[in-house]
């Protein structure tokens, strides 16, 4: 049986990152956009943890905790705004958010 090494984790991380990136580009629903962002952040977390373990250095895992904490707070703020938006406009479609048009 093949041993699972650093490369496998990094490949998993890359695949997850690509999925997240596509999600960020393609999704029109604001809620799903948040999901895609979470996937991006977690792919990075996987890479952090794996590399940290590989080098035997805890710094990377600490960074992963920071990322989780920040992601949680980001989602908390983002969801709050999202709810306000939904109450006002009745939808959370990305194409309707165009007030920044230059």
């Amino acid at each position: 049986m093949m041993e699972i090494g650093l490369n496998h984790y990094l490949i998993l991380s890359t695949i997850l990152f690509a999925i997240g990136l596509v999600g960020v580009m393609r999704r029109k629903n604001l809620l799903l956009l948040f999901f895609a962002t979470e996937i991006l952040l977690n792919s990075v977390n996987i890479a952090f943890a794996a590399i940290s373990h590989y080098y035997g250095d805890l710094t990377g895992q600490m960074f992963a905790f920071f990322v989780i904490a920040i992601a949680a707070s980001e989602v908390a703020v983002g969801l709050g705004l999202l709810i306000v938006w939904y109450k006002r406009h009745g939808n959370i479609d990305l194409d309707s958010l165009a007030s920044m048009k230059g």
Binding site: L21, V24, M25, R27, K28, L94, D95, L97, A98, S99, M100, K101, G102
Partner: protein, 640 residues
């Protein structure tokens, strides 16, 4: 004593600024009166300074403030009153005072009355800086200042096409010459490290002759422009478009003599390079006869006097070139008096004749304009150089100097010119004041000028008569600073023959002029007489066709060249590239502004695209750095 220096220098500035306050308002007589009083105070201060210098006082040297101090360059606003500058200050302030008072009457009905006094006083201020500065940089500032005021005053009646044209011509010709002067100044600073007169004169003694010659030549080019020497002479005659008091002050008595002043001031330079001096003298003699010949036939009263000014400037340069600096300065002074008088008289005649300038249309004016007649006659006699008027002493000394220096060609040219001078001066007075009253045909009713104008002119009349008496005093004053020497013709008999011969020659010329032009047969020329169709007459009347040649071979080709450069170089290369860059940026902005749709999804896509772009660049550069040695080897193999 310093306070008199400051009064003499700054009273004209105050006067100019004061008059400038009223330029936008209708005529106010008091601006003229106050300007005249301020200029008069400058004159009084100059007189006090003159008595101080004459009494054997030390030259006054003040440094008002530092102007430029960077590295080794140090140029102060310094002013000096020594024997040379005090002479010039006297001439400038005296003639200015007279001209200011005269102008109150002359410009009486002009809308630009206040403006005129502002310009005129600004001119006096610039001229004072020019003559009083203790360094070449200050002299240059004054030099440019008088050039500017000359432009303003020639083009004073700017609604006249010819006046603006003449003003521009004068300005541009002077700029050409000023470039030469500027090169001269750079050479002085480069070789001596200073522009102060004292410092640079001391350093000149250690320089080699070639360098000194170049400095002398370039400075003289500047003098040629300001003093309208050949080939930059055409502007002076055209400058007669300006009001007559301006012609008297600027284009006869003061500004045009600045070139002579420059040569006299730099006498320590020019005495080291006698070959350049000889060139100056030869050019001066040439201009003397050249200008006098054009004055013989001209039918414009003011132009005749302008050519005569040109001719007399030639005399001054002849004297200065031969090393007789004090004679040049003395002739400058005497000439300022009688030439300003002549011009102001011509101004009276112009007023009486309703701006008619052709002397053939005048005649018999002595009956109505007795005082102008007397003044102009005396001025003409002084100009012709008859004993005992001012011109006799100054001009005869120039002739003696040329003779004593054994430059007989210059001597004979100048002697012959003296005859021409006498002829054209009295041709003019005879045509204006004697003979039939031809003006009646044109329905003109002449009248004498205001009393106070005549009174204002009287100091000039007195000086034109008696200035010769100051010759010994003047010589004693400038003897030391100009290294002056009396010119002694070895035998007394030669001297007497020369003097009397010159006088007889001049008197004969005057009599011939009177005989020819003081008779009842003179009519307004209509281009049919044999003389008017002769080649010489046409040549002289058309100023040797020099203005035409300038027009045809310089102005027109230059204009065509400029048009070519405009349409082909400026529009197609310079403008096109500037517009092109602007266009590219503008279009890029125009096209890419579609990106700013405000749609979050689109923006995120662009963000990802940018991220990928930067990432790939980072990879490419990272690889390039890692394999730089191999890449360089491949490139050198390709022969790059």
């Amino acid at each position: 004593m310093e306070k008199y220096l400051y009064i003499a220098l700054f009273a004209p500035l105050v006067s100019s600024l004061f008059s400038a306050l009223f330029t936008a308002t209708p005529k106010k007589t008091f601006t003229g009166i106050i300007a005249s009083l301020l200029i008069f105070s400058a004159f009084v201060s100059s007189s006090i300074l003159l008595t101080h210098i004459l009494g054997g006082g030390e030259p006054i040297h003040v440094e008002m403030m530092t102007w430029m101090a960077t590295g080794d360059l140090y140029i102060p606003f310094g002013f000096v009153v020594d024997e040379i500058s005090v002479t010039m200050m006297m001439v400038v302030t005296l003639v200015s005072t007279v001209v200011h008072i005269y102008s109150i009457g002359y410009m009486d009905h002009d809308k630009g009355f206040n403006r005129f006094f502002s310009y005129l006083s600004a001119f006096v201020f610039s001229m004072m800086i020019l003559v009083m500065s203790d360094n070449y940089a200050g002299l240059f500032i004054g030099w440019e200042g008088v050039g500017l005021c000359s432009w303003l005053l020639i083009g004073f009646w700017f609604h006249k096409e010819s006046a603006t044209w003449a003003a521009n011509e004068a300005f541009i010709m002077n700029r050409i010459a000023d470039l030469g002067m500027l090169v001269g100044l750079f050479l002085i600073y480069w070789n001596t490290g200073t522009l102060q007169y004292e410092g640079s004169f001391a350093a000149f003694a250690h320089l080699d002759t070639t360098t000194l010659s170049w400095i002398g030549i370039f400075l003289f080019i500047g003098a040629m422009g300001k003093s309208a020497q050949f080939p930059l002479h055409t502007w002076l005659a055209d400058a007669m478009e300006g009001p007559t008091p301006v012609s008297a002050l600027i284009h006869a008595a003061t500004m045009v003599t600045a070139g002579v002043y420059l040569v006299v001031r730099s006498n320590e330079l020019y005495s080291l390079i006698p070959h350049v001096g000889l060139f100056i003298a030869s050019l001066g003699a040439f201009v003397a006869i050249f200008a006098a010949s054009m004055a013989l036939v001209n039918r414009d009263m003011k132009r005749v006097i302008a050519y005569s000014t040109l001719s007399q400037l030639g005399y001054m340069f002849a004297a200065a070139g031969l090393g007789a600096y004090w004679v040049a300065l003395f002739h400058l002074m005497a000439h300022a008096f009688f030439k300003a008088l002549l011009f102001l008289g011509a101004g009276n005649v112009m007023h009486a004749m309703h701006d008619e300038l052709d002397p053939f249309k005048m005649g018999g004016l002595k009956k109505v304009m007795k005082w102008t007649y007397i003044m102009m006659t005396f001025a003409s006699v002084a100009l012709a150089g008859l004993f005992p008027l001012a011109g006799f002493f100054s001009k005869d000394t120039i002739l003696e100097a040329a003779f004593a220096e054994h430059h007989f060609v210059i001597y004979s040219v100048l002697l012959f010119t003296a005859g021409l001078t006498a002829f054209y001066s009295f041709r003019l007075t005879a045509l204006i004041f004697e003979g039939e009253e031809r003006y009646k045909l044109f329905g003109i009713h002449p009248h004498e000028a205001y009393k106070y104008m005549l009174v204002a002119m009287s100091p000039l009349l007195i000086l034109a008569i008696i200035a010769g008496a100051f010759r010994t005093t003047f010589f004693g004053m400038v003897e030391e600073i100009l290294g002056a020497m009396e010119y002694h013709i070895h035998s007394h008999v030669t001297l007497w023959i020369m003097t009397i011969g010159t006088q007889v020659f001049v008197i004969l010329a005057i009599m011939y002029a009177y005989k020819k032009y003081n008779n009842a047969k003179i009519t307004v020329p209509d281009g049919t007489s044999a003389m008017e169709n002769s080649f010489m007459y046409k040549l002289l009347l058309n100023q040797y066709y020099i203005p035409y040649a300038y027009e045809k071979y310089i102005v027109v080709p230059y204009r065509e060249m400029s048009e070519v450069f405009w349409t082909h170089v400026d529009l197609k290369i310079v403008d096109a590239s500037v517009d092109g860059i602007a266009g590219i940026i503008y279009n890029t902005g125009d096209r890419t502004s579609a990106m700013q749709s405000g749609n979050l999804s689109t923006m995120l896509k662009w963000m990802v695209a940018g991220l990928l772009g930067m990432l790939s660049l980072a990879v490419v550069f990272g690889l390039a750095v890692r394999y730089s040695d191999e890449i360089l080897a491949i490139l050198s193999g390709l022969g790059v």
